[in-house]
Structures are given as structure tokens and as C-alpha cells.
Amino acid sequence: MAEVLTLHPGPLPVGPIGRRGLGWWGVGTLVASEAALFGYLLFSYFYTGATAPPGWMLEPRPVLKLALPNTILLLASSVIAWYGEHGVLDRKPAQALIGFGGAFLMACLFAAVQVLEWYAKPFHMGTSSYGSLYFVTTGFHMAHVVVGIAVLGVIFIWTALDYFSPRRNLSVSAGVLYWHFVDIVWLFIFASFYISPYLGFGR
């Protein structure tokens, strides 16, 4: 008689522990798909730019006066969100609330500055394909920022309601992961629309 495979697992966690849970994987796949979406937007930008006649870029030297500080602000909000996440992990409720509240406010400020930036542009969505690409790509990002603001706000409320512990906090980690994604993908957009013209693209 052949041996039958036996199975004696020891104590196993019930439900998600820390990042170890299906929800983490779920947000991971969501981020992968969203990253692809932005990849296709930037592909559209570079492909259209590379095949367009000279003079396609309506702003050959994009003004960085608002965009650069705003980028730094967005990156800083990611750091603050991470600080908040560690407040939950280290059982420091005040740190957690400062982190999520701070990230929430900085995200709102980023969005407001971005609206100013839109108004400061000398072209609009319907001017040419460049205008369309600029406004729709940054618009897509803005939509993600708005979702991120909602996520950070909800995490703030849940933390204030004392839902989480160093052990049970998947919702927090997943939300903060999403916010990191929104910030990192902005770097690619910023590099494409604001920096690459200085490096010679679109001339």
C-alpha cells in the first residue's frame, strides 16, 4: 500500500494578518493594471510626439514654477502616509492620525495647485493633440488623486474609530500602497511632460 500524503498544519492565522492576506494581492493586481493604463497614456504621448511635425509641443520649455514644488509636495505626502502606517504598526494612534490626516491635507493641496497649474497653461484640451494629451493624462492622474484623497480620508476615520492593531491592519496597508502608486506614477508623468522636453524630446 502506497503512503498517503498527510497534512498537519500547526496554528494558522485566521483572516488577514498585517499584509499577509488576499486583499494585499488584490490591491497589487489593481496597481499593476492601473500602472499599465498610465503606461499606455505615456506611450500615446511619446508616439504622437515622435511622429508629429515640428512645433507640436505647445510649450517647448514647460514652466516648472508650480509643478516642481507640487511634485515634491506629493512625494512628501507619500512619506507622511508611510509614517502614519507605522503609527498603526507601532500602536501609536496619534502618529497614525497625524500621518493620514497630513497626507490627506497634502493630497488636497496638491490637487488645488494642479488646478492652478491647469489654468496657467496657455493652451487647452482642444488646442491640438499635445493639449489633449497633456490635459487628459494629468486629468487621469487627478482622478486617481481624488480617489486617493477619499482612501486617505476613510483610513483616517477608521483609524480614529480604533479599528486596527499592529496585527489587523490590511485596509491601511492596502490604502497606503495605492497612495504610493498614485505618487510614483506622477513621477513618470512629470518626467514625460515637464522634464523630457528639456532633454530634447519633441523638438
Binding site: L12, L22, S33, A36, S44, A150, Y163, P166
Partner: protein
């Protein structure tokens, strides 16, 4: 750290008490509320299958009307505009609303059963992806039935699709409907990926998983990454049409070829996504009828992945006639030809399985075996069109139409029909009638080849696709008549299948748990399976848990003794590669949240197409509220500390 609520799951054997407890935990409500709130993968899978099959019938009727129009020269059954909408809607229906969802349906139904678990990783997301699929199908068909169906072919090239050349609402319905459908495909793909990685029965390491896991997983990784391309393309098209952007408008420095790139960056991987799971049906089920394991399992698994990887780099072969640089075309031509290698590995593995086996000829076997023939014919014509100079001759002729039908019917519909014969007993507890099955098979097989084999010639004789009629002196009359006759023969075969399904569901022979003597886990449980699938989570020691005695395996899977997990709606989470026990998963109860979320989305998209901002706002609010309710951390799912808040 507080680990007080960790638990060692108890081992046990099946007892009526255990089955009763699990039944209480997993059985959903009946009635309308139960219908709208169920998250059971078996019910959702069946809904997917029935809905997708309904779309197959609709697409088939559209094809028959077109074949009537084309049966003879200078026919006037349809106006050119009606014909445009009909062939575009036929393509949209078959490719988007049938070919992919039917495979999602089978995989949804079968995955937890073949993987030895109790549901998909995200049961609520599963319900969501079905409801959105249904909503987008209805949305697209509302367009068609109000005279606003797509009318520029399923790949919908600009500038035809831009507003100046196409002022009706046709393209708006198509664009928004496709964005909506893309949401469904994406969330479904995420669910398949996480299910594959985290819920396989303990011991089912990745090299012991059934081929259906490889096929559907590979397809869905691709879907996750490429569906955004087409959703984006359609969204940009809608903006160009309605909000004055210029992505594709060459008069404002837009790039019409951008549409083609975005569409085919999605479109060509998608072609593999709608055949790889179907090929996996063959790889799993054909060996059952050959009474031996699949020859070359690792090679077939790797070929599945290789096809997809190469598949990301072949999209330009749809664009050889657009004047791209020769270097680029050479690269994409070479990549397209290279796909022959993994495809051939699979073909030869199937042939070797038949050759070395003792084939039992059933209807399912015949559908699976004929897949090989049709795949070879479709593959060879694909090989021809992968060559740039040949493609220049053949592109936009009926040769391409013949090729794509050999591929899609040959490697999607035939395996699906085989799968219906093979898994119908598992789903219903009754076998389909074999005698009707033979008629069913031969009518479809002969009808299909009658319709599409001569069509290669129609194309070689120069008949362009997508033209509503033709003159009598072109030399295409007889060939077209034969194709039309063939299409009606297929239709009779399909009607026989429906007759068989209706008759056998009522009075077919009882199947029992394993009517075919098959080797994978779904055949170890009753037909139809109970709501909880497995009373005991099995431990898997080989690729063919039910054939271990015959194959004299040294270590046997444990099916009669396993983890009971009866302390709540629970199943086992395992590690991604080795499938070692990792955690106990708390599964969600039935909920209407996915349905309400879909209603919100439908409201939003209705507002978008009608440009009624209030409706959009209402949709967005419903959407947000249902998401908030859905994601609110729950004690019973252990998403928050039970003692807190």
C-alpha cells in the same frame, strides 16, 4: 504580538454532521434576494456560461442574416448601413461578449473545484465582474437595437469612427460599452490571478496544477495588463467625438495610427487570451479519453506562457499595410512566426497523448480531437499572413476572415462544445445524450468546414471583406453560396445541442461523481457539487489525484481525510508556489453590494451617453456608497481587531 486567535485546523473524515454544518454555513438564500446577492462561484459561473451562450446565439443569427445577403450577387436583403452594423455587431458580440466570457464562465465554475477549495479568492468581486459584464452587454445591445450599433467593424478604425464621418450615437455606445466591459474583465482577471496563487489545495504545487490553471491564469495576467489599452483607446475616442480633443484627428496633429496601436496592443494578446484557456480544456480533458496523462505536461505549461509572452510582441502584424518602417515590420513578422513553436509543442503533445493512449471515442473526444485539425489549418493560414509580402496580398480579403474563423471557432468554440459535453454532468448531475451528440458534432464540423474552407479561395480570388454585396461577374458566386449553405448547417448543429441540453437536463442518464473516470479533483465530489464544494480540503500529492492507484504513484493524495474548516465560512489559503498551508481564509457572506455597485456604474454610463450630468452624479454617488459599504472593515472577516472600535 497577540496570536490568541490563531487556530490549528482540525483534520477529520466526512460525516453527515460535518456536511450538515457546512451546508448551513455555505448555502445561500433563495428567492430574488438570493439571486441578486449570491457570491457562489458555481452559480456565477453558470450565469456566465448561459449569458455568453445567449450572445453566441445572437451573434450566430447576425451571421446567418449576413450569409443570406451574401448567398448570391447583388442581393438587397440588407442596406449597406444595416450590413455595416450587422458585421460590426457580429464581431463585437462574438469576440467580446461570447469568446472571453464563456471561458471566464467555465473557469469560474471549475477553478475552485479543480483546485480543491471552496470558492474564488474574491467571491464578491466575482459577482461584480458578472454583473458588469451583463450590464455592458445590455448597454451595447441597447445601442444595436436602437439603430446605434457599432458600424466600423469590431476594430473600429479612425478616422471612420470620428464624429465628422460618423455623426450618430453608434460609436458612443460602442466606446462607453467597451470601457464598461473592460472594468468587468479587469476585476475578473485580478480575481483569477489571486485565486491561482493563494487558494490551491495544500500540496498542489504549481507543477501539479491542472492545465486549466495554466491556461486561464496566463490569459488573465495578459488581460490585466492589456485591457487598459483598449479601454483607454475607446475612452479617448469618446473624448475626441464629444469633448473636442484631438488624439486621432490628423487636422490637429493627432495620430490616427495611435488608435491602431492601442487597439492591437490589446487585441493581439487578447486573441491568445481567448484561446489559451480553451486549449487547456483540451489538455485536461483529452487525456481522460485517452486513458493516460497528458504527454509533456511541463512543456505544454511552458508553451502556454511562452505563447503569451511572445503574444505581447506581435500586434503590428495587424498593421503591415499601414506604411510602417520595414525594420519594425520585420521584427513583428519574426515574432509572429515564432509563435508557431509553442503552438506546435502543444499540438504534438496532444497528438502524442492520443497516439500513446487508448482513445475512447465520445462526443467530447471528437470535439477536442477535431480542435487539433482546425488549429493546424488556422495556424498555417496565420503563418502565411505573418509574412509581410503575403499579408499585403491577403489583408482585408476573405482569406483573413477564413483564418480568424478557423482560429476562433477551431480553438475556442470547438473546445467549448467539448467542454460542455465533458463538464455538463458535473454541473447538472446528468449526462448529455451521445447519439444526439454525434449528430451535433458532425453537423457543426462539416458545416464549419463547408462554410470556411472555401472562404480561403474567396479571399485569394480577391473578394474584400466588409462589403455588403458583389457583382455577378467576379467569380465569387458559387463559393459564397457554399459558405452560406455551410453556415446554416452549423446552425442546425447548434440547435441540436440546445435540444440535447434541454432534453438531458430533464431525463439524461445520471452521471454520478465521476462518469468519465477522470483524474482531477472536481470528479471526487458529487455532481452537482454541494454549496461548499469539498467537505474536506484535500491534500494533493500528484497531477492526477484520482489516477494514483492505476499509475502506481508512491505517494497518494489524501481525499478521505482532510481539513474540516467548519468553524465559519472558511477555506484554506496556501503559499503561491508550493501550496503549503499559510492561513485560514474567512469568506464573505452573500451581499447585494456588487449588484448595487453595478447599478451605480450603469447609471453613470447612461448619464455619460445621454450627457445628463445629474444622472452621472447619481450613479457616482451610488457607486461610492456601495464601495464604502463593501470595503468597510468587518469583524467577521477579521479585517479589524474584534475587540477594537
Amino acid at each position: 504580538m497577540n496570536r490568541a486567535d490563531d487556530r490549528a485546523p482540525a483534520l477529520g473524515t466526512v460525516s453527515p454532521g460535518l456536511e450538515h454544518r457546512l451546508h448551513e454555513l455555505w448555502e445561500g438564500e433563495g428567492g430574488l434576494k438570493g439571486f441578486l446577492s449570491t457570491v457562489d462561484h458555481k452559480k456565477i459561473g453558470l450565469r456566465y456560461i448561459v449569458t455568453a451562450f445567449t450572445f453566441l446565439l445572437l451573434g450566430g443569427i447576425e451571421a446567418l442574416i449576413m450569409r443570406l445577403q451574401l448567398a448570391g450577387p447583388n442581393a438587397h436583403l440588407l442596406s449597406p448601413e444595416q450590413y455595416d452594423q450587422l458585421f460590426s455587431t457580429h464581431g463585437m458580440t462574438m469576440i467580446f461578449l461570447y469568446a472571453s466570457p464563456i471561458l471566464s464562465g467555465f473557469s469560474n465554475y471549475l477553478w475552485p473545484l479543480i483546485l480543491g477549495t471552496r470558492d474564488m479568492a474574491f467571491p464578491r468581486v466575482n459577482a461584480l465582474s458578472y454583473w458588469i459584464y451583463l450590464a455592458s452587454g445590455i448597454f451595447l445591445y441597447v445601442g444595436f437595437l436602437t439603430g446605434n450599433g457599432p458600424n466600423d467593424g469590431w476594430f473600429n478604425y479612425v478616422p471612420y469612427a470620428l464624429r465628422d464621418f460618423n455623426p450618430g450615437m453608434n460609436q458612443d455606445f460602442y466606446s462607453l460599452g467597451m470601457v464598461l466591459l473592460g472594468t468587468s474583465t479587469t476585476v475578473g482577471a485580478a480575481n483569477f490571478i489571486v485565486t491561482a496563487m493563494r487558494t490551491r489545495a495544500p500540496g498542489m504545487s504549481i507543477n501539479r496544477a491542472p492545465m486549466l490553471l495554466w491556461g486561464t491564469l496566463t490569459a488573465n495576467v495578459a488581460n490585466l495588463l492589456v485591457v487598459p489599452a483598449v479601454s483607454l483607446a475607446f475612452f479617448l475616442l469618446w473624448l475626441d467625438r464629444q469633448f473636442g480633443t484631438h488624439f486621432f484627428d490628423v487636422r490637429a496633429e493627432g495620430q490616427p495610427l495611435l488608435w491602431q496601436h492601442l487597439f492591437w496592443i490589446f487585441g493581439h494578446p487578447w486573441v491568445y487570451a481567448i484561446v489559451l484557456p480553451a486549449m487547456a480544456f483540451v489538455s485536461d480533458a483529452l487525456p481522460v479519453f485517452c486513458r493516460r496523462p497528458l504527454v509533456g505536461y511541463p512543456l505544454v505549461a511552458l508553451s502556454t506562457v511562452a505563447t503569451m509572452v511572445l503574444g505581447f510582441g506581435v500586434w503590428v502584424h495587424h498593421m503591415f499595410a499601414t506604411g510602417l518602417p520595414a525594420l519594425g515590420m520585420s521584427f513583428f513578422s519574426a515574432a509572429s512566426i515564432a509563435i508557431v513553436v509553442p503552438s506546435s509543442v502543444t499540438i504534438f503533445s496532444w497528438l502524442a497523448t492520443i497516439w500513446h493512449g487508448r482513445p475512447v471515442v465520445t462526443t467530447a473526444f471528437m470535439f477536442f480531437a477535431s480542435t487539433i485539425i482546425l488549429f493546424v489549418i488556422g495556424g498555417v493560414s496565420g503563418f502565411m499572413t505573418a509574412s509581410v509580402p503575403v499579408d499585403w496580398q491577403l489583408t482585408d480579403t476573405y482569406f483573413v476572415v477564413a483564418h480568424l474563423h478557423y482560429v476562433l471557432i477551431g480553438i475556442n468554440l470547438f473546445p467549448v462544445l467539448g467542454a460542455i459535453y465533458f463538464w455538463f454532468p458535473k454541473m447538472t448531475g446528468r449526462l448529455l445524450d451521445e447519439r444526439l451528440g454525434r449528430w451535433n458534432f458532425w453537423l457543426i464540423f462539416i458545416g464549419f468546414n463547408l462554410a470556411f474552407l472555401p472562404m480561403h479561395l474567396t479571399g485569394l480570388f480577391g473578394m474584400p471583406r466588409r462589403v455588403y454585396t458583389y457583382g455577378p461577374d467576379m467569380g465569387w458566386n458559387t463559393l459564397n453560396l457554399i459558405t452560406s449553405v455551410g453556415s446554416f448547417v452549423i446552425a442546425i448543429g447548434v440547435v441540436l445541442l440546445l435540444v440535447n441540453v434541454v432534453k438531458s437536463r430533464r431525463s439524461g442518464a445520471l452521471a454520478g461523481p465521476n462518469p468519465w473516470g477522470a483524474h482531477t479533483l472536481e470528479w471526487s465530489i458529487p455532481s452537482p457539487p454541494p454549496p461548499y464544494n469539498f467537505a474536506l480540503i484535500p491534500a494533493v500529492a500528484s497531477r492526477h489525484p484520482l489516477w494514483e492507484a492505476e499509475l502506481h504513484e508512491e505517494v497518494r493524495s489524501s481525499l478521505d481525510r482532510g481539513l474540516m474548516l467548519d468553524k465559519g465560512k472558511e477555506t484554506l489559503g496556501t503559499t503561491p508556489l508550493d501550496a503549503l498551508p499559510d492561513m485560514i481564509l474567512r469568506m464573505p457572506e452573500d451581499t447585494v453590494a456588487p449588484f448595487v455597485l453595478t447599478l451605480g456604474l450603469a447609471l453613470l454610463f447612461t448619464g455619460m451617453i445621454l450627457k445628463v450630468w445629474l444622472l452621472m452624479l447619481a450613479g457616482a454617488l451610488v457607486l461610492t456608497a456601495s464601495l464604502l459599504v463593501w470595503l468597510w472593515p468587518r469583524r467577521e472577516l477579521r479585517e479589524r481587531e474584534p475587540a477594537h472600535g
